[in-house]
């Protein structure tokens, strides 16, 4: 932070000397900045620019035609539906898990925290595979489900389940360190003044964690809407029915319908940009009430 040596006790006359001694040569500095910027340009900025350029290749007219296609519309609707179910479920779970883990001391807590993080270390394809093995026609449950006419795989429930699996840790992971840091004294004060458990949660805990909560929901939602591998395995790729937006992008691309693929991709890229802007705003304004900006 204070890299011009303001914090050092050497006095004002030596500030320049300290700066020279604890910083790189100007050429090295420029070289490092140039390296970093080139890398960011090649790997982050150009891909993003490519999405928008390719989508507009044949002008905005075709871009809009693609977006008004009923299949695209169905994919958008399905993506919103899946995220609309998965995010609130994991939000409720995240609050419960954080409450249990952060506010109490109990045996097996560290193990429980590790289990919650498990989906992060599992390949998305395997996250989809486990549900195929559980509900597929060769599984234990498969024949029973079939005889009762319940369709989970290659249908919306399977897509929701796979998405819930993949986005499982996001809210909990954000809330646990935040609530651990805040401790229990606020809640104890409220309870001793006669508030009920729910009142304490709504009026004391929730206001304390709301920005952290929003941060977790933001990341959870971005992943839920963008998940590809897990959803691809369980979806069955039925056009207009079980294709989410990322799957629609894949299908259009594999049909060499590049403009259409990039047009749908534009919407997902915009989602990513909005997520990044909101995330940066939250980090800037409420860094004290967000755990992730310090841990990641």
């Amino acid at each position: 932070m204070a890299h011009d040596g303001t914090a050092s006790p050497t006095g004002t006359g030596n500030t320049e000397l300290v700066r020279v001694a604890t910083s790189e040569h100007r050429l090295a500095r420029y070289g490092l900045i140039a390296t970093a910027l080139t890398f960011v340009g090649l790997f982050l900025v150009l891909p993003l620019a490519a999405v928008f350029t390719e989508a507009m290749r044949n002008g905005p007219g075709e871009f809009l035609t693609v977006l008004s296609d009923p299949e695209t519309f169905a994919a958008i609707k399905l993506t919103l539906l899946v995220a609309g179910i998965a995010v609130p479920l994991n939000l409720a779970f995240g609050i419960a898990a954080a409450w249990a883990i952060a506010k109490f001391e109990f045996k097996g807590k560290a193990f429980l925290t590790t289990l919650i993080d498990l989906p992060f270390s599992v390949s998305p394809v395997i996250s989809g595979l486990v549900f195929v093995l559980l509900f597929g026609s060769h599984s234990l449950l498969g024949p029973w489900l079939q005889s009762h006419g319940i369709q989970i795989l290659f249908a919306v429930p399977g897509i929701v389940l796979a998405t819930v699996f993949v986005t499982f840790p996001f809210v909990a992971r954000e809330l646990i360190p935040l609530m651990q840091e805040q401790g229990t004294s606020d809640e104890e004060a409220a309870l001793s003044l006669g508030a009920s458990g729910w009142q304490t949660f709504w009026h004391v805990t929730l206001p304390n964690i709301k920005w952290g909560l929003l941060y977790g929901v933001l990341l959870c939602n971005a992943r839920a809407m963008g998940e590809f591998g897990a959803v691809s395995v369980v979806s069955g790729h039925i056009r207009g029915l079980t294709n989410t937006m990322p799957l629609q992008v894949e299908i259009l691309y594999n049909e060499y319908n590049f403009v259409a693929a990039f047009a749908v991709a534009t919407l997902l890229a915009l989602l990513a940009l909005v997520t990044l802007v909101l995330k940066s705003l939250l980090e800037m304004k409420y860094s004290a009430q967000i755990a992730a900006s310090r841990r990641h």
Partner: protein, 285 residues
């Protein structure tokens, strides 16, 4: 005496905060339903294969090659990310330049951008007729549709893991340590090599492990740029998908089991690095 005996058998320490039963109940049920039952299904299905069948499936040449490609490219990509990630984190923590805020926010793009979108965008850039690919083709360098393309996609997805693990630790470095080194006659390069980098090592290792673990399992961004030639540029997650489409569930299960075992070993190593780092340096990575 009775109170003390009771506390020995208590699962949790007493607290005035209510809702422990409800919160833990919800957590455990949801965890069991969504994570534990499906994952144990995979373990059960792979153990039902029997050791001989499992070994035969796991050592199939195409499977071995796919695993080798997945782990090899992920390793290389994580190494590249360690170098550029540390440079990027250093530049973001130490220097001032126009657009720094935007660059800092952009680092998280791979977290936010759906992998399929990243995949088709990178393919478009690095294909032989793409923006960058067309500049490299005359030089005889081919990136897309080769294993090198896989590495490029994995560099993209892994970058934020390294930067975001190293960055906070760099911010914590006490400037006085560098001043002390300079006072004792170290030149800048010596200070960086002997004083700064050793302190960053645990964070760098953790970032490397996270990027590596993510790269091994990555699917969406890779399949477009890889070319997916069996034995050459076919990654393990793609082979699982192919086996599933052939209804060859035993083979898919076996590949998944091998990947899971290696990933969990990685997770264990990450936790050990962090515990060691907390003991050694007083702060975790």
């Amino acid at each position: 005496m009775t109170a003390r005996t009771a506390s020995l058998w208590q699962i949790r320490q007493p607290s005035v905060i209510p809702g422990f039963g409800l919160a833990l109940g919800v957590t455990l049920s949801w965890l069991t339903l969504i994570i534990l039952i499906p994952l144990s299904g995979l373990v059960w299905r792979s153990s039902a294969l029997g050791w001989a069948t499992f070994w035969e499936l796991a050592t199939d040449q195409r499977t071995v090659n796919a695993l080798r490609i997945s782990f090899g490219t992920a390793f290389l990509a994580a190494l590249i990310n360690v170098f550029f990630g540390v440079v990027l984190a250093w530049v973001l923590v130490r220097y001032r330049f126009p657009g720094k805020r935007v660059i800092d926010a952009m680092v998280d793009l791979p977290f936010a951008l759906p992998t399929a979108v990243a995949g088709i965008a990178l393919t478009t850039l690095y294909a032989p007729n793409g923006w960058i690919g067309s500049l490299l083709t005359p030089l005889g360098i081919k990136i897309a549709f080769t294993p090198l393309g896989i590495v490029f996609a994995l560099v993209f997805v892994g970058l934020p893991f390294v930067v975001r693990t190293v960055q906070p630790i760099m911010e914590e470095i006490d400037k006085e340590v560098e001043e002390a080194a300079a006072t004792l006659g170290a030149n800048r390069l010596q200070t960086i090599r002997r004083v700064l980098l050793p302190g960053l090592a645990p964070a760098v290792l953790t970032g490397f492990a996270l990027a590596f673990a993510r790269g091994v399992g990555e699917y969406g961004s890779v399949i477009f740029i890889a070319g997916n030639l069996p034995y050459v540029s076919e990654i393990a997650p793609l082979l699982i998908v192919i086996r599933l489409e052939e209804f060859n569930y035993p083979a898919a299960t076996a590949i998944a089991a091998v990947m899971l075992v290696i990933s969990f070993a990685m997770l264990l190593i990450i936790n050990m690095i962090q515990a060691w780092s907390r003991r050694r340096y007083g702060y975790g990575a």
